[in-house]
């Protein structure tokens, strides 16, 4: 599904290398988790994959179902099936959440040569998905993320993911700021989307999320590289001992 080869990324504005040769393959139907210390480059990886400005790829490649995504515009990547649940969802005053969702759904359909969704079908679908995430009608009417609590913003990300049904989902610390119940809602939302044709890359600091969303593979990122890869037990090891042992062994 997603293949990242020897990806090197530096900041566009300054000579600062952030990703220093990331290799990672997420297969369809699998959930991969990435853990790693603050500042190790996890969000940068997510942003570079989704096409945010400000970064320069100096080496390596990234493909989605064999297509080079690094050459695409952000909206083309989205239409190709890539989705990023933001670590910090952006507030957009003046754009209604519903307008935003409908515009996004139809823009992607159009880009794929599909027909637009009728407003009736759209409304039905939004209501159903929102209900599962306990997002009420009032929140749907409000401007995108504006004045939402941290947890509400994260649930709104999952709602967008549920509506857009992407092939490759990248979740950047979707668990941060969630209370216990919201964590369950969000995890259920993600698990409902687990499917043989869909890949997940879940960035998190905590084993707690991985109790709900069972990963197939766990990676540790440090200093802009994947320094270790293992099964779910690797997350437990981090939870127990922190990164010192792993980093000591691999990096120093």
């Amino acid at each position: 599904m997603l293949e990242i080869r020897n990806l090197h990324v530096k900041l566009e504005e300054e000579d600062k290398a952030i990703l220093k040769g990331v290799d990672l393959t997420v297969e369809a139907g699998k959930v991969h988790a990435i853990m790693g210390p603050n500042g190790s480059g996890k969000s940068t990886l997510a942003y570079v994959l989704s096409g945010r400005d400000g970064y320069e790829v100096t080496d390596g490649s990234a493909t989605l179902e064999g297509k080079d995504i690094l050459e695409m515009e952000p909206e083309e990547r989205a239409a190709a099936g890539l989705f990023l649940a933001f670590q910090y969802p952006v507030e957009i005053p003046g754009v209604g959440n519903m307008t935003f969702l409908r515009t996004a759904v139809n823009a992607q359909r159009k880009a794929r040569g599909e027909e637009e969704m009728s407003s009736g079908d759209f409304l039905k679908l939004v209501r159903e998905k929102a209900k599962a995430l306990k997002i009420d009608a009032e929140m749907l009417k409000r401007p995108v993320n504006t004045g939402f609590s941290g947890g509400e913003k994260k649930r709104n990300e999952i709602l967008q993911m549920a509506m857009l049904e992407p092939k490759m989902c990248i979740l950047d610390e979707t668990d941060s700021g969630l209370d216990v119940d919201a964590m369950k809602l969000v995890s259920d939302g993600v698990n409902a989307l687990r499917d043989a044709g869909r890949g997940f890359l879940v960035i998190t600091h905590y084993q707690r999320l991985l109790n709900h969303i069972q990963p197939d593979v766990v990676h540790i990122m440090a200093g802009g590289r994947i320094v270790r890869t293992g099964g779910p037990e690797l997350a437990l090891e981090v939870e127990e001992n922190g990164y010192a042992d792993i980093l000591g062994a691999e990096v120093a």
Partner: protein, 435 residues
Amino acid sequence: MQSRRQRIDEQKRGLAEKRLAAVSLPAGGAWATAARQEARQRLLDAGLPVRQDEYWRFTNPGLFTDAGVAAAELLPADDREAVFAGVDCLRIVFVDGVFDAARSGDLAAAGIEIERLADAATRDIHWARELYGKLEAQCQSPVARPLATLNTATAGDGLVIRVGKPVERPVSVSYLRKDAGAEAVLHHVIRLEPGSRLTLLEDGPGAARFSSVAEVEVGDGAAFHHVRVQGRDHGRQAVTALFVRLGTASVCKSFTLTANGRLTRNEVMAELTGREGVLHVAGAAVGDGTAFHQDDTVFITHAAERCESRQVFKKVLRRGAVGVFQGKILVHPEAQLTDGYQISQALLLDESCQFLAKPELEIYADDVKCSHGSTSGAIDPDMLFYLRARGIGIEEAQRLLVLAFLAEALDEIEDDTLAEEIRRRLAGWLERHRA
């Protein structure tokens, strides 16, 4: 030796003389002629504006003060529906400033007192004489409004409207063009008796050079709603002045959309004279190209306690367009518990555009709440990326964000149908003026 100020004053008076010499005073009845002559004298004393005047630093008044009119190409007709075409209203049409009876509805059957200024001026006794040129003259201090005085002196037509009850059906005035070099000068006088209500709609490019003044008296408990769309001809020049006097617990809400135009100056001078008055003035302006210059100049006087005023002005500028906002809130000592709000913002779609803002607060009462803010900036790159990351193409994402930026100004329009009409017009403009 003459001082610099004396030299400037002389120049201003010289401009007024030249300008007045180029126009003939309209024919009319006794009271109107007297009012016009009085205004003419005031203008000869005060002179026309020049760049050195404090409130003309950001906008060159030359096109308004020149004796000759700069022609403005007529926008080719397109198949777009006329503005407010879907609204049930009394329709009145002026073409190049000349009343067009054939295209206008029947004024006599409107259910309100409404007639042409040209007709009202022929009668010796008329209620409009108590207002014509009077609010305008009162508002010459502390800041002179000489172009409005010029209008009072030279306007040959306009509308006089008196409303005695709540009127649901709006009055809509369209200012159309036929002649590429025409000048139009219109002057409206509107009186809302206590407890009454009126919605006034205005649209159109007006004339190559267009001047309009409206003097509006809003009686106690009355409500005046005003929505205006200044049309699209690129070369047109317009100067407008809205004078409003608000009584106790009265409401005035005025919104203007300015699209295109070479030079537009919209002035609003409003005075809250009775307690608990509510005054909202808002505007959205969209301009593309170095030839676009749009100016909102507002002066709000709080002369009574517990009144609320809001100014919300948003401008979207691209390719060298220039936007100006000068807004002042003056709070008299007796106007305790004033609630004043002012925001002016420009969205610069590229680095060649300019937004010039002069927000002012002058407060002599101690127990008031007044806030003001002014910003200009580009489209937020994080917002743009967020929308694109969801699959929304860059152009559509930009349009969404521009409309979102304008939303606060559009929210000032009370009627949802009218607000939606304005939103559609803006969306159409953005569609035609893409990056």
